[in-house]
Each structure stands twice: as C-alpha cells, then as structure tokens.
Subunit: 311 residues, 2 copies
C-alpha cells in the first residue's frame, strides 16, 4: 500500500475499482440538502441560487509527474488547471465566475516559477471573466494545483448528462485524439462560447466535456440517460496527427459532446454558427448503455465505454 506503510491482503486496491467505482462508493456520503439540485456525478454540482439561476461548483486537481512535468511551460500548466474547470462549467451550459486555487509547492522552489503558473491562471481568468478570489499555499514534495470554480447558469439553460433520448443525434465540438503528446491539452480554449450558443438556441438534451476520451465520456452520458449509442467512424473528427483509438480512449480533448433531437439537429445544420464547428458523429438508440461503432468497411463493432481511469 504505497504511501501508507500498511499491507493488507484483503484490501480492495483503488486500481481495481477505479475512479468511477470510488465515486459510486462516495455517493452514499453526500448528505445533500434541498439546496442541492444535483450532487456528485455530473461535470459540476448544481445548487439553488435565485429565481432564474442555478449556481455551479466544480473542482479539479493536477499533480506534478502525473498530469504535468517540470519541463512544461509553467504558464501553460496554470492555464490548463483553470481551463479544465471552466470546461466543466461550460459542459453544464454555464459561465464561470469565481475561483479559489490551492498550491502545494516545494519550499526550495523559485517564487518566480510559481508566479508564472499564477500568470497562466490570470491570462485565462481575464479572458473568461473569472475572479481569482482566494486560495491556500502549502509545502509539498511535488507541485500540486487544485482549482475550485464557481459558475452560474440560467435554470432554463441547464444541461445534464442524463437527458439523452433514443433518436437524438450525437455531436462533438471539435477534433479529437493525441491531445497530450501534441501539447493541445495545455493550450485548449474552453468551449464556453460554443456551449452558450447551444443552450441559448438549441438546448441540447445532454452534454459533457471530453476529458476521459470519447468512448468513456459518451459512456457516462449513456449510463446517466439509460440509452445506447451508435457511432459512425467516418464522421468522427480525428485530429490529423491522431489515431481513432486515441480519439476514443485517451481524453484530454476538452471538446463538448452533446445530443440534439433530430429536428434540432437539422436546425443546427442550417444555422449561422459563426466560427463554431459541430460534428454529428452518431445517434442515440434505445436499450442498455451499449456503444457500437460502425467501421468504414460497414461492419459494426462493440466499443468499451470504460473511461480513462487515473489508477
């Protein structure tokens, strides 16, 4: 048992039950009040706010040596730590407002290096109207960055993972695959504008951001919505430098994945969308949360919906 000095042969290692098995365990301990509309299990928690709006609350942790390395530009590392959270708020249809940032840092570290991480937060915060209102700084062996972000969304514009219906068309907002090696995971622009355009004009039935891979994140939507899906390989916008498998399983793309009724899907195709690109990649089908891929050769194969697990 790494880091704990305890050995127990009967234990259930996290690597066995995975991140999502763990979330299922934790769900028993939420102690939700009436104030909470949606707790664990979506991109952000949904809290009552006022007559017309909900508040959204999300958090993400990044650890040096796991999510980023010292060779990476510190400004980009800071940028990413905030960007992943803004992406979560966008996936609920919302806009980001206030963030608190915790930093774990080695005492011998250069303060200027840390300031560059902070400048990365700031650059993005200014662009997306986010206030950096507080935080915590503690000593640790490796750099740790945790961002908690508060946002809001009009009640009528809230989109959850659980609303996909048989017949709906599945879309993604951009190219997928090879995000980590290409460095795109450090520079992506959170899809807040696209999400706001969608919720204001088309109100998707379900939405999520692709952090754990297309198959895994679509799997979350299917499970939450109790439906299946059929994707068409020809329509999946795989990046030029990527393979299909990377698009399906690697994650870190932070594109929006959403579903629209057939009528709305047609309207979207005909609409003025400015610079936005929305790619239809398949359809929702009735039945169990099963995922099928139609290959280029016309054959159907079954895909695992297992998301990227940190363990």
């Amino acid at each position: 048992m790494q880091g704990l000095g305890v050995e127990d042969t009967t234990m259930t290692a996290l690597s066995k039950i995975g991140e999502f098995g763990l979330i299922e365990r934790f769900k028993r301990f939420q102690n939700l009040s009436r104030h909470v509309v949606t707790g664990m299990g979506d991109d952000a928690a949904v809290l009552e706010y006022d007559k017309t709006r909900y508040q959204l609350l999300t958090t993400d942790m990044m650890v040096e040596g796991r999510h980023f390395w010292s060779s990476m530009c510190p400004e980009e590392v800071g940028y990413k730590a905030l960007a992943t959270n803004i992406s979560d708020i966008a996936a609920m249809g919302g806009v980001s407002r206030s963030a608190v940032i915790s930093l774990g840092v080695p005492g011998k570290m250069d303060a200027d290096y840390l300031q560059k991480i902070y400048q990365g937060f700031y650059r993005l915060a200014r662009k997306f109207g986010v206030s950096l209102v507080g935080g915590d700084t503690v000593a640790s062996d490796k750099i740790i960055i945790n961002v908690a972000l508060l946002g809001e969304v009009e009640k009528k514009n809230l989109v959850l993972r659980s609303g996909a219906q048989a017949g709906d068309v599945i879309f993604v907002s951009g190219g997928l695959g090879n995000s980590f090696k290409s460095g795109r995971h450090l520079t992506f622009v959170p899809r807040t504008k696209e999400a706001r355009f969608l919720v204001e004009h088309f109100k998707p039935s379900a939405m999520i951001d692709i952090s754990d891979g297309l198959a895994g994140d679509l799997g979350h939507v299917l499970k939450a919505s109790c439906v299946g899906a059929e994707l068409d390989e020809r329509f999946i916008p795989v990046h030029q430098d990527a393979m299909l498998d990377q698009a399906l399983y690697e994650g870190e793309d932070y594109e929006l994945l959403f579903t629209l009724s057939p009528v709305k899907a047609q309207r979207l195709a005909r609409s003025k969308r400015g610079d936005f690109c929305f790619y239809p990649i398949g359809v929702i089908v009735p039945g169990r949360p099963k995922l099928t891929l139609r290959r280029k050769n016309g054959k159907n194969i079954s895909l695992k919906t297992k998301a990227f697990s940190h363990f």
Copy 2:
C-alpha cells in the same frame, strides 16, 4: 529546486519570501469583478449573493507527510480537512453549505482506507449541515486532500480582519497551544456556534481563526486594521499540556480570535453565554501593527507577529 530539476542561483526561494510574501505577489493577479466584495487576504472570499446575504468561499489543502501521517486515524484526517474550512467560514461570521473535495491517492491504496477518510468528511458534514456535492479523484504518490467550501452570511453579520480599533478588547474562544502533538488538531469542533452567537449579539469589529498561532493570526488582524495590540500573559488561556510559546507560535488551534469595543466587551462579560467561553487577553492600541506582551513579572516585551509559515 526540488521537484523541478532547475537550478538558478538568482532565484527567490519560497522559503525566503514565505507563504504570506507569496500571497502579496498573487494579489496582483486577482482580476476581481464587481461581484467580489473581498478577494484574497481574509479567511474566506466574500461574494455578492442576494439583497441580504453574501456568499463565502474558501479552500484548504492537506498533504500526507506534511499535515498528516499514515499513522493517524483516516476518519480523523478527513474530519480535519473539512473542519479547517468550516472554521474559516465561521471566522467570517458565516455558516457552511456545500463542499467539493479533491483527493490525490496512490493507485495501490486500499479503497476502504479512503472510504474511512470520506466517512470523516461525512460525520462532520452531517453535524454542520454541509452537503458534499462533488469532487475529483486523481493518482498521486502521497495522499492529498483539498476541500473547497461554500458558505453564506447575512450582510449585517459579516466580520472581516480589518475592523479592529484602538481601545477594543481582544478575545479568544478557548485554550491554545500544543494542538498538533496532543492530537487536538484532528478532533476540534469548528467554532460556528460561537461565531454565530457573537455576530448576532455583539458583532465583533474583527475576527479570524487561529490556524497559524496567536501571534501570527493577531498579526494579520493588526496589519489589516492598521493598529497595534498589547496582550497580558496572565490572561492567555494556555492548555495545561502546553507552553506559552506554543500558544503564541504553533497554531492549529482553530479557536476564534476577535475584538469588541469596550462597551460590547462588558456586555459580553455579563451575558448568558451557555457553554461558550470567551477569554479577554489584551487590548488594541493605536499605531503600527506592533504586538507587545505584558509578562507575569510586569515587564513588557515585544513579540514577533510572524505567522507559522509552511516553507
């Protein structure tokens, strides 16, 4: 430069400028909107909410091997991680509502151990009406716990660090010193009830929770309020198992430190306070943020207001 693989003889190590020097640097990069009443530099950020209330947002990080050890009871470790945040909200006069929790954990770790940490959160959350609404779980070499907590306070009841005035009496809400070695830092009850009693009946001019030591946290109040203070050694409630120096400099007590005008201080002394204990320990004096201690022998000495620094 530990954990980064970069060496630069011109760098400013964090251990030199310290946690609070760092916060001063970060303050330049807050990008505050009108929505933000108070950003960095108090126990929690203060955000506009509705006509009569503010929202409060705070965060705290704990790292294995720095803030807790594997030999400690996991339930108590979880309890503490949430309790320190509830204490921050209480120090603003507020009540806690919703928390998101990030966990960094080794993949080989026992899921049951982690569940016990979570039960620690839950036990306290239930007691204080906090909903655990979401979080993040990632892989790391050591256990990391980050809690971000949202609370609220009536506008009329908000207390900042910056309101202490010359002549005010300084109080603490309980015994101080030796919190870490005695284990009290793992089991303390956040002073929300005491804080609510105070803001509703006496409205302190300034308040903070003692996390970095009496001298350091009083120093924060003095600096924010532009005043000095004189403490009387005889009145400081040092725990039986502790020395005065531990009360002054060790921290982790999580008692409230607050100031009241002389008239209110007299009213508090005569009031029905139930089980609450409030100890007057000195007075605020005009002038620079200097701290003086009157020893038992009648002599005055000057105290450093330097807070416990994590670096």
